[in-house]
Point group: C2
Chain length 96, copies 2
């Protein structure tokens, strides 16, 4: 599996709008196992996004989906700064 843990700061006063965009229905996302968008309670601008994909290729392919490209284009002007960006290797629970 392939995971991402990322944060960014919304432009002042735009976090709720940005989060609505990030949660907008984008149709089928092949290979997306988990996608969580969260507010950072420590301030009014930070957003955390944690994702799990079957593999890095599935994530990369998703960025070419027209619905996803549209969301990214709308979201970019609402983002003031990028923060954490971690790639991870989620581990499956053994079948027992």
């Amino acid at each position: 599996m392939y995971g991402l843990i990322g944060s960014f700061k919304a432009a002042e006063g735009r976090r709720a709008e940005l989060i609505r965009l990030l949660l907008a229905e984008t149709g089928d996302m092949p290979g997306c196992l988990s996608y969580v968008v969260a507010e950072d309670p420590a301030d009014d601008v930070t957003v955390w996004v944690t994702e799990v994909w079957t593999d890095a290729a599935a994530h990369k392919a998703s960025l070419q989906l027209p619905a996803v490209k549209a969301v990214i284009a709308q979201a970019m002007p609402l983002i003031a700064a990028f923060g954490e960006h971690r790639e991870t290797r989620p581990v499956a629970r053994d079948v027992s």
Copy 2:
């Protein structure tokens, strides 16, 4: 909802063992919506855990479950250092 994003470093050579423990079957976890354990591909010791709970109380209550307490007791000697610890507020997708 209540979220956690955390990292810690396993003792040298013990990461796989630690991850197996963290993924061990602990039975029913009331209020746990998502629990992902991941390796950090940047080194051989860092582990990321991302969690989503219905609320902070459900997470706190889970720490008192005998199976969870047993896992924590077994895991502690395998942890060399604690890293990131972020609480978040995951946002639900609007029903539309």
